[in-house]
């Protein structure tokens, strides 16, 4: 109970923060522009320094937060849902559907992603939606096999058999019997996909799939890559990376909450 409410509080706080940032941006409080103070180290003028074209890193980080969170969370949720849905089809769907699903995954896995992206880039108009769709399209197939491997094991357990015999459909089994067993795995997959979404989106700008000015933590890190040898990476790369890893860590921990409240483990080995 208490945990759940604390989690809700966290979500609410994050959403409020994002709204506040959007508002501040719209009103013009946060101006993010290039300046001749290129690669200035952190100091009083720029608390977190400036980047390679003189933009203030701190403001960039603030502005990037809502976009990154929205993009990463939505893509991760949708991708993982798709992957797990597909994995369920593989495990429960009977021989035909299962084979069909797995072959789809095979094909997506084998056809070079770059090839698909380039083709799509020639067709779609770039933007947030396109980015989201592409990330999902190229991401979901990666997790199907993993989810299926775990699902297959869990689905053979006697409690699931019991539910099946009692006339439960697979969806019911999913909801009540399998979800909890898969929870830590889902957490791990979420983390994977958030990471992918945050990092890949920056790369996609180079295939014409987004505006390279779309400000995300990933794109900030991407543009810091050229500074790895100058020492400027300390303030260009690390802050967004720290924020991203905070996000990943939180997601991971949310994944195993339920599990820990049940039993407290003692010293092991």
């Amino acid at each position: 109970m208490q945990l759940a409410s604390r989690r809700n509080l966290l979500f609410a706080a994050v959403i409020l923060l994002c709204l506040a940032i959007w508002l501040a941006e719209a009103v013009g409080w946060l101006e993010y522009h290039s300046s001749r103070a290129v690669l200035a180290p952190p100091g009083l003028g720029h608390w977190l320094g400036t980047n390679e074209i003189g933009q203030d890193v701190l403001i960039g980080l603030i502005l990037a937060t809502p976009t990154t969170l929205t993009l990463a969370m939505t893509t991760a949720v949708v991708t993982v849902s798709l992957a797990v849905g597909a994995a369920s089809l593989v495990v429960f769907g009977g021989p035909f559907l299962s084979a069909l699903m797995l072959r789809c995954v095979d094909v997506l896995q084998v056809v070079p992603t770059m090839l698909l992206l380039l083709l799509v880039a020639a067709l779609v108009s770039p933007g947030f939606t396109a980015l989201f769709l592409l990330l999902v399209l190229t991401g979901w197939s990666d997790d199907v096999r993993v989810a299926a491997a775990v699902l297959r094991r869990e689905a053979l357990r006697e409690n699931v058999q019991y539910a099946r015999v009692m006339g439960a459909g697979w969806f019911y089994c999913w909801r009540w019997h399998l979800f909890a067993a898969l929870r830590p795995l889902l957490g791990a997959l979420m983390v994977q996909n958030i990471r992918q979404a945050a990092l890949k989106s920056a790369g996609l700008a180079f295939l014409g799939l987004t505006d390279p000015r779309l400000l995300t933590w990933g794109s900030m890190m991407q543009s810091a890559m050229d500074q790895l040898y100058t020492g400027a990476w300390m303030w260009l790369l690390l802050p967004p990376a720290a924020l991203l890893s905070l996000l990943l860590h939180t997601t991971l921990k949310l994944g195993d909450r339920r599990l820990r409240s049940g039993a407290v483990l003692g010293p092991v080995f």
Partner: protein, 347 residues
Amino acid sequence: MDNASPSLLDHPVPTEITGAGSPAVGRFAGLVGGFVLRLLIFCFVIVLCAMLSRMMPGDTLQVMLSTDLARGLGTGEAQQLQETMGLGGGIASQVWAYLSRLLAGDLGYSIPHAAPVLQLLLTALPWTGLLILGAMPVFLIGGALAGIEAGQLPGGSVDRWVTPVVTMLASLPPFTGAVLLLLVFGILWPVLPTGGAEPLFPAMDQLGRAVGVLRHAILPMLALALHELARFYFLARAETLNLAQRDFIVNARARGISPWRLRWAYIGRSLIPACLSRLSDTLTGLVSAVFFVEIVFSYPGTGYLIYSAILDRDYDLLQGAVVFMAGVVLLMNWLVDGLSGHLARRG
């Protein structure tokens, strides 16, 4: 019931039944069927890629001559070049020509590289193979071990220290790890060579040369492993979270099974299906990750080859890579699917 005769105890039921109905035969048939199906998919993927790659904007010749130093070719000349390079005709006829050559066992010819695709791949593959094979144990075992360690005791000291480090690693773009490794071990504290696959002046004897090659491979391998480590860490951790509470682990501890055996034979084996699945879909990712490593460490290999094949619209080379990757990945998936179904039945 005290009169239950001892002869009743535990008689084996020896009747063996063989025939079409037997599940073993069924499973075997399933495996063979799966193989045939994958062969079909293999062909499909090849045709698909052959078409897709030619549908991308631009063609080999245009990209090849896109430098502003080249003179502009006249239309006649360009046409003639297209023809001699085998790029004439529509997509369908090109794909058809390619496929018939492929059936005859010819993987094609890379025009930008001016070399047969087979030769290109064969010279590059050993290096990539070396990196991947070298990195695999590191990220598989390292990632899984760390994950197991953390998952056994969520919130414990390992979890508290390792998980943030790994999430931090996972938050860095793929290039970074490689560059930082290079900076640290190549420049700040120069103990390992920073580039190339061999010293400029390799040793003359086999052993010395092998040592040179290995020394050069260490940093790239580590960089590659670092890139993949997080995936396996998170996966192993999640699975271990589930496993560590099961009775058989507690019982094994009660039997005094050694911690290493516990990690490997008890938790580790249960992770095999998930990890193998992860590996099978990491394989393609690995090849693209190798690309970064190759760039940073000026290392030879297929990563850059394949990447540039796409950008250069080098159809035959790209196809060759696809044929190869598809073969390996599909074969691996075939094994993984069979194995994970089989292992799942153990519980």
